[in-house]
Subunit: 332 residues, 2 copies
DNA sequence: CTGAAAGCGCTAACAT
DNA sequence: ATGTTAGCGCTTTCAG
């Protein structure tokens, strides 16, 4: 059978409590006793049962991570940031994919709570009313990473998407463009429909450039979507000479679409993307891209969560990380 | 306080045992009783405590997943395959990154066992002797996904890397090349150093083409590594006219390196990659690539693990999945 | 079909 | 500094 704390206690001629103390690094143990216990632990290859510990202490040192899809670069980067900080604070991660499906998100929340996680980090492109309520009703701390919720009540970590998008569009305007397209993923995702799009429209209007709905294209945000989007855009009477793109993969699709149609980037069409993943450098010309620090967002979100879990004071429950634009060759 | 099984029992005028039975779908409960209990559960918003359940039943319905780095496309795809099947069988995943560091792998194994996972899926590019022993000594089932171990004792899921590589190289030979390079990630990784490289050498020799060590290049397998590798290769007195590449990212680096030097793919240099991630289509020309079905490897590994966890009969503990070569435009 | 009771392995007062 | 003793919330015989 597996060796328990009781076995160690017996072998070391001490009580379970003492073994528990040395295992948990409690200082109230005579060095000699500690040494003796440690030796028995080693000899018996005792490994504390975290489940029993969790039941007794009501802490599992596990945190739940709910993301749309780990096979997506964007989420993977975020997850890595979360995991690194979690490891640093000795937490383990229970990871699950929601596929951006509200029902799954809700079920997952429930499952994780059932597993008694000490906290949750969640990423959701679309925080619905129902989800919002579930999050607020959550008995353990929860922080949203790279997700926009409508209320101020929920902890979250983001960049200022509006401002970032504004700067990108302004850059294009400054380069003399008046036919600027906006190509992004689903507009029902608030980051796209509420932030980037709003910034796009506002910035254009401020520059007295009329909004042309034909230049606003939303698809699934994939590479193929980018390819296809250019096909449509290029057939316009008056095609765009610059494009503000929602993510890198989409941007690469657009670049290739443009090149396939015999035009050049940035000479004929300038492009500014939004993400700056490693993909941004893996295309010719390399993409100018708004830096979305996903790893950092994940890391900071997890760090924030540890504070909540330790019941530390948190001065700002809505963290906004700095952003910048990485200038490369898809824009001038 | 949180509501427990005892609260439900009291409210429903039954014993804890009965509540436990309905929660666990035990058929030995009168429909009327079940209904009553279910109502109370709903009313009280009772949520079973998985930790307590785990302690009592010695099953946690959690499986550990140890991979080198989730932010790497390759691992993320694998992880998604694992997670999907895990979800299907109602397991949760405890995910951790090893950074391909033996010490971390060992610690992680220990942590997961401490958390009483029911099984483990692991990916490791380099299964060392020590790791091998730890795996064999593991008290719960464990299956290696996309990893090569030296013994037959460990369950694993792979493709036939040697044969796949052989076919790729043969394809290049069939196209008339005699100056064929092999560019890959670290050779201490068995997949590279023992399988692909061996296949490369054997196939060349079988075709009476002398091995030129200058054409064998190993780096870190990154995009930049690919760029740099071509710089070196192109400075050779007699540069290669075809390259068999270890992975897609590396291959894209090579393609760009070749194009930057004024040559063309596949006219001047043919390329066959190994991975066929979605990246393979995101470059011009698109990559001909050996299909490494990472999602499937993960899924099958997890499925295999469920069999072990259920103590089902397993006919083949070393699964080899089929592979094929996706023909695109980087080769003729 | 249902209940009583004994743990699962550990932590956390409370004693000493 | 160390031991004693309740539980933590649930599953699982064993009776009935």
């Amino acid at each position: 059978m597996t060796v328990t704390i009781y076995d160690v206690a017996r072998e070391a001629n001490v009580s379970m409590a003492t073994v528990s103390r040395v295992v948990n690094g409690n200082q109230n143990v005579k060095p000699a006793t500690r040494k003796k216990v440690l030796e028995v632990i080693e000899r018996l290859e005792y490994r504390p049962n975290a489940v029993a510990r969790g039941l007794a202490s009501k802490k599992t040192t596990s945190v739940g991570v709910i993301i749309p899809d780990i096979s997506n670069n964007l989420n993977a980067e975020l997850a890595r940031g979360i995991e690194d900080i979690a490891t640093m604070y000795r937490y383990n991660i229970i990871l699950a994919n929601s596929d951006q499906n509200e029902e799954k998100e809700l079920t997952l929340l429930d499952t994780m709570l059932g597993k008694q996680v000490d906290g949750i980090v969640m990423m959701s492109e679309e925080v619905t009313e129902t989800l919002q309520r579930a999050v607020e009703a959550c008995p353990v701390p929860i922080v949203l990473a790279g997700s926009i919720s409508s209320t101020e009540k929920v902890a979250s970590v983001n960049i200022d998407y509006y401002k970032a998008a504004l700067e990108a569009v302004q850059m294009l305007i400054d380069n003399g463009h008046t036919r600027i397209a906006f190509v992004s993923g689903p507009l029902q995702y608030k980051v796209n429909g509420e932030r980037k799009l709003a910034a796009y429209k506002d910035t254009l209007q401020k520059a007295n450039i009329a909004i042309d709905e034909a230049l606003i294209v939303a698809g699934d945000g994939s590479y193929d979507d980018g390819l296809e989007s250019w096909t449509n855009l290029s057939e316009l009477e008056n095609p765009p000479t610059a494009i503000f793109v929602g993510n890198d993969e989409l941007a690469i699709g657009l670049v290739h679409g443009i090149q396939d149609s015999g035009k050049m980037v940035p000479e004929d069409v300038e492009i500014i993307s939004f993400e700056n993943s490693k993909l941004a450098r893996m295309v010719r010309p390399q993409l100018t891209s708004v830096v979305l620090p996903l790893y950092d967002i994940g890391a900071v979100a997890m760090r924030l969560l540890t504070k909540y879990m330790n019941k530390e004071e948190v001065d700002d429950q809505r963290v906004i990380l700095p952003h910048r634009i990485e200038q490369r060759n898809s824009s001038k």
